[in-house]
Amino acid sequence: MARAVGKWVAASAFALLAGLVAPALDGAYAGDAPWLPKPARGQGDKCVADTDWMRRNHMTALLQQRDLTVHDGIRTMRFSLKGCIACHAVKGADEQPVTAESPKHFCRTCHDYAAVRVDCFECHASRPEAGAGAAALPARAATPEAETLARYVRSLKP
């Protein structure tokens, strides 16, 4: 009996705690919590896909588009590393976009926090060339690539 009551108390406490913490986490995702990274916003109205989707799947999107670009020469799709770099450029003290050497770099803000090292910038430019900005980017495509990719990503999970 005592054990049953204990279980009930534990369950209630967990539910209460979850109720308290969940809104806090929601707020944290919006960038309120001081311990979470705050990646630089892009220059346009919105990202090439929803922020939540990009947060989870940008690596798969980049990986797939990379092969299409290198091997098939398709350069118009929206998940382009060049596009990310151009749109999310962060200016340093000298008013020039910072490279991946700087912890302020868009990619590094999250990757440092998550302790995930990327080697993209051993070959790729980590800052836009002069004159490249959001204006130089292709408009958000109407093709449902994000949805196709989302289905693909889900199909990978066991």
């Binding site: 091997h71 020469g73 799709m77 770099i85 051993e122 070959c123 430019a125």
Partner: protein, 269 residues
């Protein structure tokens, strides 16, 4: 019809002995197969497009469309117009793709170089640019253990640096010494020409420009400020300027005897 092999027995079969006789047989057989495939298209036409067969006339590729094997990009270089001291193509390539001399000539990357060739018997010299010859049967593609060295559908031979492990087999296999290995860490690469330490690289025929419907930087520079010796175009399109000139004039391909079918043609060498 001699293939130069001492045994001479391998030729009659026509099974890839690399000699002229074998190639003729293979080409005839291939043409026959292409014809058969073309008739198959007419039979299976409902919803089926076999676009890779037959010499279809090339149209400008729409943005977002895959590189097509109906196109074969190539160059025609007229050595008579190539100035002896002119280096415009090399400089343009360096500017476009971001490679440069770092004072280590033994190991510096070199996508294109000028050669001066001298006939020792009569002292006659001429100069020409040498770069990746974008072969159909590229030895660099054959030997690559990871599939990083590949030939795009439209004939441009590239290195997928995501897959390259830097073994440099391709550099040894290339008869033209066209490839380089990056020995030092690099910074501030061009956004359209990623390159980095530990990978092999070579002329890309300015693939980023070609995909945008432009011509390679070396050809543009040669036409603008050089001798106008270089011409870029689709070898498969009989109406293209390059195909017309190749059909009209006597052209040479360097080490054509190797049977790699290079995409770079030279005149007056």
């Amino acid at each position: 019809m001699s293939c130069g092999s001492k045994s001479g027995a391998g030729c009659a079969s026509g099974k890839g002995c690399g000699c002229a006789g074998g190639q003729t047989v293979d080409a005839a057989r291939r043409d026959f197969l292409h014809g058969a495939a073309a008739s198959a298209v007419t039979l299976l036409a409902a919803g089926v497009t076999l676009y890779s067969f037959g010499p279809a006339p090339a149209a400008a590729r729409a943005p977002g469309e895959r590189a097509s094997s109906s196109v074969r990009y190539g160059l025609l270089i007229d050595a008579a117009k190539c100035g002896d001291g002119c280096n415009e193509c090399v400089t343009a390539c360096q500017t476009e793709n971001g490679w440069r001399d770092s004072g280590h000539p033994q190991t510096d990357a070199q996508w294109i170089r000028k050669l001066t060739v001298k006939n020792p018997k009569n002292g006659a010299t001429f100069s020409l640019p040498m770069m990746c010859q974008h072969c159909t049967d590229a030895p660099c593609v054959d030997v690559c253990p990871t599939g990083a060295s590949f030939r795009r559908a439209d004939g441009i031979v590239l290195v997928d640096k995501h897959t390259c492990i830097g073994c440099r087999y391709c550099m040894m296999a290339c008869p033209y010494k066209a490839r380089s290995f990056v020995h030092e860490p690099l910074t501030d690469q061009k956004a359209h020409a990623p390159r980095g330490k530990g990978t092999v690289e070579s002329c890309t025929l300015c693939v980023h420009r070609v995909d945008a419907g432009r011509i390679p930087a070396c050809v543009e520079a040669c036409n603008d400020t050089g001798g106008g010796a270089m011409l870029f175009g689709d070898l498969n399109d009989p109406n293209s300027e390059i195909a017309k000139r190749i059909a009209t004039y006597r052209t040479t391909r360097i080490r054509a005897d190797l049977g790699c079918d290079p995409g770079v043609y030279y005149r007056n060498i």
